[in-house]
């Protein structure tokens, strides 16, 4: 039961691709908590660590030699913008998680610069998540998370950690950077899970 705002008519954009409370953005806004870290692909490493401490790592050459996929997807930021039909290229998490024994239910994505975000592990499987290194046919720009970022487009975009360098698989959920500051643990844009309690 919303308060009606006198004189506000708004602009109807009944696009079925827009989740509730979102508006259509044509540019690509940048959101991050601090400076853009300089990440050199010569020293880049991506590591998956299981709940037992077993680690699997890829350097940039090994990572970019893995089978890659082209992804066309809509993205939704918790700050209310959505961008439709974005184009990415990256490695599916299915490929990276393949053959890693785990009974973990959750993952903490970790980044150069110290950013973290938590996700249920099933949300990273079955063709729902990638480590992306190209955007719109070009290497991913540093301010958009380059050289590589997590891409989990079915959740609000803060879950798609920029400058990602690893996943810690966890049996119990823990909160990441924004989640500790009150943002939702799951972040489904279609259920408008912006903040804890939504």
């Amino acid at each position: 039961m919303n308060v009606v705002t006198r004189g506000f008519t708004g602009r109807r954009r009944d696009d079925p691709k827009l989740p509730p409370g979102q508006y259509l953005e044509h540019s690509f806004p940048v959101l991050q908590a601090g400076p853009t870290p300089a990440v050199n692909t010569a020293r880049w490493k991506f590591t998956i660590t299981t709940e037992t401490g077993a680690a699997s790592s890829w350097d940039w050459r090994q990572f970019t030699a893995l089978p890659a996929e082209d992804i066309s997807t809509d993205i939704h930021c918790v700050t209310q913008w959505s961008k439709l039909g974005t184009s990415w290229r990256g490695v599916s998490l299915d490929t990276l998680l393949d053959g890693i024994p785990t009974s973990a239910g959750f993952a903490m994505a970790k980044s150069y610069g110290g950013y973290t975000t938590n996700l249920p592990l099933p949300d990273l499987r079955d063709g729902k998540a990638w480590i992306a290194y190209e955007y719109d046919g070009a290497p991913l720009a540093p301010e958009h998370g380059g050289p590589a970022r997590l891409l989990v487009p079915h959740l609000y975009f803060w879950k798609s950690a920029k400058w990602v360098n690893g996943l810690d698989l966890m049996k119990q959920d823990k909160r990441g950077f924004w989640e500790q500051l009150g943002y939702h643990d799951y972040g489904d844009p279609w259920r408008e899970q912006r903040y804890q309690g939504d």
Binding site: N2, G7, L31, Q32, G34, T36, Q80, L181
Partner: protein, 288 residues
């Protein structure tokens, strides 16, 4: 209030427009009466939800401009081209109109009033808004932290809160304001271009300010040979930073807010100049 931003569930509160004030040709402040508003940390924002008579609603995020107080807050809204909500708030909303807000949101880009570190604020355009909340809070709590604002705007006419900033800088012994006008060419030279004598006296002023307020906090302000408010033509650069900002060795708490391009440039300059990444907090808005 709690140090974490968002305690428990955030519910929508009814906001009633009180006074409004035109700040520039394209920015307007709305004072809102919000019964139940718990107060906020300087730097935090709210989500505003406007609902049309037929039930259609739209949400946008706005930084709080005022210092924390219960049941009341101020937003300063910069009109954006084609802005569905900003054009309503800037042009249509009037005293007595109602919409909804929830918050405060965002406990990262926030200044704790008991933080004793020097405060270096970098604003691009309407990125001044959350920083103004910090400046107002700084006075409200009688903070002794030396404060520098470097505010990049297109022209003097685009400066939001110009009169209040001048007044605060004039009255406070710890506040120094530097304007950078990016669309002016025939204005004062940038600090990078001024004569060596003047550069030296500028450095002395900062040194004097700091030693006065870091080591003798109760000592009254001494007359200064440089105005507490200065304006230059040009953009933020390594030279401007070196000649106007607290040096990295003082480990200031740095907050940079503005359009993405400004914040990207500012934070890269800061890191290159030796400021610790962990001391730099950023908030960006608008397209790249």
């Amino acid at each position: 209030m709690a140090r974490t931003a968002v305690p428990g569930r955030l519910s929508w509160l009814v906001a009633t427009v009180g006074e409004t004030k035109e700040e520039t040709a394209t920015a307007r402040t709305l004072a809102l009466d919000v019964p139940g508003w718990p107060g906020h940390l300087a730097g935090q924002h709210v989500t505003a939800r406007l609902t049309a008579a037929d039930g259609y609603s739209a949400q946008r995020s706005y930084s709080v401009a005022s210092a924390s107080e219960p049941d009341r807050l101020e937003l300063t809204v910069q009109r954006v081209a084609d802005g569905e909500v900003s054009s309503y708030l800037d042009e249509e909303a009037r005293t007595g109109d109602q919409f909804e807000v929830r918050g405060p949101i965002g406990g990262w880009f926030a200044w704790q009033p008991d933080d004793p570190r020097p405060l270096l604020l970098l604003a691009g355009g309407s990125g001044i808004v959350p920083l103004m909340s910090m400046i107002r809070t700084h006075e409200a709590v009688n903070s002794r932290a030396p404060l520098q604002l470097i505010y990049s705007a297109r022209t003097p006419d685009d400066v939001i809160y110009a009169r209040e900033l001048s007044e605060r800088a004039r009255l406070s012994p710890v506040i120094v304001v530097t304007y950078l006008y990016t669309r002016l060419t025939r204005w004062r030279k940038t600090p990078a271009q001024v004569t060596p004598d003047r550069e030296v006296s500028g450095a002395q002023k900062h040194g004097g300010l700091l030693s006065r307020h870091l080591t003798h906090p109760a000592e009254p302000a001494a007359a200064s040979d440089l105005p507490p408010v200065r304006g230059y033509a040009g953009r933020l650069s390594a030279d401007v930073l070196a000649k106007t900002a607290f040096p990295p060795g003082l480990s200031p708490a740095v907050y940079a807010c503005g359009p993405s391009g400004f914040v990207e440039a500012a934070s890269n300059l800061l890191v290159a100049a030796g400021y610790a990444s962990g001391d730099i907090k950023t908030e960006r808005f608008g397209p790249n």
